[in-house]
């Protein structure tokens, strides 16, 4: 019934593996992936545990539609307790390894304990092996990928790995799969490395066959594909421009955080935009963008495959970077570009390449560099710390250097690897950290898009756009247009987006489908694949259940309502330009109402009635 009904448990301390059936009662309540794995995590670990200690677990999980022909049905998530935020972490990735894991016959892998020495996990259908990783420990993700492909002589092996940054304790290290797709946020890669687990290599040849109602499924899949193809965003915008389609749009709205969120518009936006990626460059007449690419089963194909100008200072003498690889997404272009004031598209592409090569989250990284640049500007960080580098806003050279040292975990890169919150605390200016719950902001300034302020403040994994993308409504008018500068109605809007996204993230599908799909498009696919009575309503309710489950984990971990807030800058320093000029984020107008519509008390704790209603 779409689930493989099989969990692989890997005890890294003992070096043993075992199989067990999936808890189908929980699957009925939490569906799969984000929801279901969070349930396992919440039941199995102490929420107060040290995220980097052996008591934490790391779950690599698929959804019921992962590995099927449902468009974008190739997603997986990494669920664990985050070392960056101390909250629950769930980072979602596309590429191909999720579907491969499902095709090998598993819904999820639960990693427990900590290996006494570096290892990787090899999975070939029923054959599972924990093998020594000494030869790739200390190497990048790309080097590990190459080594494993060579070792097994299998070009179709799918690999997820952590790089040097994770090994060196960078708190926002990613798990990178298929070379340039990543479970990027909240330091899930750091947890993986803390377990001495370097990589997971999977080959699955069983496929996914147990569809409950194949006829109804193919009908729903084809109808869904048609909706995606005919929608302007998923059918044209994303394939042509990728998520970078947003760069100029958000800049015009005046919600483009710039230079550590001091400003809300970036004068260099057009130079690092999607349009710029299509522009032939002077040197060789080729554009930055080579082609678009899809993840497994995806009929949108937003992925960017890019090259860097070979004459650019960053790669002049480095032929290993002359080929094509994963190019700029909007979030990376913003964090590495606008937030640091750098408008050199080749420098950003280079930084992006090596964020993938060594596995760090470009959002948290870029935002941390931005904070460091502000600290440098006010003299709190000097050349003494940077080893002579001028860490100035707008410096492409400084950005390239910062990326290299952070990815390798060298010198000042170790400071940058702590993330913006700890960096700003260390250098005496905690207010300059643009974070919520310790996680850095993504690319939408909440002074210009009010709902995003509430989104960030209440996100269960710290500042994040993927927990409730109200930009859809407030800027793009999907499903209906709301005024970005108004706070009224936003608590309800944020709740609706949070609940819907929670269940989409639990299905195996990509959240980008929701530019075109509502739960009415998704539910028939889930119902036909899984059986049971999954409808738009029951999915939304399961989404709400998942949101509350995550909230309860965080409360048990020690977070409180006091953590549902924003940095002072966004609450007190008004936007200086653009349509949002004069605005701060008016979180106080939204938060109490949000608790109310959530069925939480004034301390942000779900009431008994809410818990009962959601069968928590």
């Amino acid at each position: 019934m779409a689930w493989a009904n099989n969990v692989l448990r890997v005890n890294l301390t003992e070096g043993t593996t075992s199989n067990e059936p999936l808890n189908m009662e929980w699957a009925g309540l939490y569906l799969g992936q984000r929801g279901l794995a969070t349930k396992y995590l919440a039941e199995e670990i102490d929420p107060k545990c040290d995220a980097l200690g052996s008591g934490n677990k790391l779950i690599m999980t698929t959804g019921p539609l992962t590995g099927t022909m449902a468009s974008t049905g190739g997603r997986y998530s990494v669920v664990t307790k985050s070392p960056l935020t101390g909250a629950v972490a769930c980072s979602n990735s596309g590429g191909f390894i999720g579907a491969e894991l499902k095709a090998a016959g598993y819904d999820m892998i639960i990693f427990e304990g900590k290996s006494p020495r570096p290892v990787y996990l090899y999975v070939e259908n029923d054959k599972v092996e924990i093998a020594p990783a000494d030869e790739i420990w200390g190497q990048s993700v790309w080097a590990a990928d190459e080594w494993l492909h060579k070792k097994y002589q299998d070009p179709l092996l799918r690999i997820a790995a952590v790089g040097r940054a994770a090994e060196k304790g960078c708190l926002y290290a990613a798990v990178v799969n298929d070379l340039h797709r990543a479970a990027g946020r909240s330091g899930v890669g750091t947890v993986m490395a803390s377990k001495n687990l370097k990589a997971v290599a999977v080959r699955g040849t069983k496929g996914v066959g147990n569809i409950k109602d194949p006829g109804a499924f193919m009908q729903a899949v084809n109808a869904g594909k048609k909706v995606l193809a005919e929608n302007a965003v998923t059918g044209q915008g994303l394939p042509t421009y990728g998520t970078q389609v947003l760069m100029n749009v958000i800049n015009e709205v005046g919600a483009m955080p710039t230079r550590n969120m001091r400003e809300v518009q970036f004068e260099g936006a057009s130079k690092i935009s999607a349009e710029a990626m299509h522009e032939p460059r002077e040197s060789d007449g080729k554009p930055n963008l080579v082609t678009n690419a899809g993840c497994f089963g995806c009929t949108i194909a937003c992925g960017r495959i890019s090259t860097i100008d070979r004459g650019h200072f960053s790669i002049e003498n480095k032929p290993q970077y002359w080929g094509a690889s994963g190019g700029l997404e909007y979030e990376a272009a913003w964090a590495l570009g606008s937030d640091t004031g750098v408008d050199d598209i080749d420098a950003l592409t280079y930084a992006n390449f090596i964020c993938n090569e060594d596995g760090i989250d470009p959002i948290s990284f870029g935002a941390t560099v931005a904070a460091a640049m502000e600290l440098y500007q006010i003299g709190a960080i000097t050349k003494e710390q940077t080893g002579g580098v001028e860490l100035k806003f707008g410096s492409a050279e400084a950005l390239a250097w910062a990326t290299e040292v952070t990815c390798r975990g060298e010198g000042f890169g170790l400071d940058l690897g702590m993330g913006s919150k700890r960096l700003c605390e260390k250098y005496g200016h905690p207010d300059l950290s643009m974070t919520v719950k310790g996680q850095e902001f993504p690319a939408y300034d909440p002074r210009g898009i009010q709902g995003m302020g509430l989104t960030y403040a209440t996100s269960n994994r710290g500042a994040c756009h993927l927990r409730s993308y109200t930009v859809s409504s407030e800027v793009m008018g999907v499903p209906e247009k709301t005024d970005p500068l108004v706070t009224e109605g936003k608590p309800e809007l944020v709740k609706a987006f949070q609940d819907a996204t929670s269940i989409v993230d639990s299905s195996g599908l990509c959240v980008f489908t929701t530019f075109a799909w509502t739960l009415e498009d998704i539910a028939p696919q889930v119902a036909a694949a899984c059986g049971g009575d999954w409808t738009a309503e029951s999915m939304l309710e399961a989404g709400e259940r998942i949101w509350n489950l995550e909230r309860e984990f965080n409360l048990a971990a020690g977070l409180t309502a006091a953590d549902d807030t924003l940095p002072k800058r966004l609450l007190t320093e008004p936007a200086q330009t653009g349509p949002a000029k004069g605005n701060v984020n008016r979180l106080h107008e939204m938060l109490p109402k949000y608790y109310e519509v959530r069925g939480w008390n004034e301390q942000g704790v779900p009431t008994d009635e809410t818990r009962q209603r959601l069968s928590l």
Binding site: M218, A293, S325
Partner: protein
Amino acid sequence: MLRALQIEPEKCTGCLQCELACSYQAEGVFNPAKSRIKVFTFHDEGRFIPYTCTQCSEAWCMHACPVEAIVLNEETGSKDVLADVCVGCKVCTIACPFGTVNYNQDTKVVYKCDLCGGDPECAKACPTAAITYVDADHTGLARMRAHAAASAN
């Protein structure tokens, strides 16, 4: 009219919808490992290239088979494997210069593209029209048209 698969790699995004549709049609599972069409990724060049049997007229596989398990489908022009006749000797997999006939260790016979009996699922599944099923005499038409348009400018 005989039709043939026309593949335009420059349109391909590497999404594998074609492999999923193929394996589902032929084997009843979503399983790229069992697909008759394969999409190859040339990572450093940023290229995705779908590849499958071109249904040769004088098919090497068909001529090589010692038990006549590969036969011509008169209606579609495809060369089809008769699974109950095939003895799994794999001579055809050696004879085919393109590698598009392969052995299945589970069924112990070979498998190849049979154009789904004249309604190929890969072409229907492809979201970018990188695979189309067109007049066999004119698989070059789209490319001719593109070049004609270019020379007109």
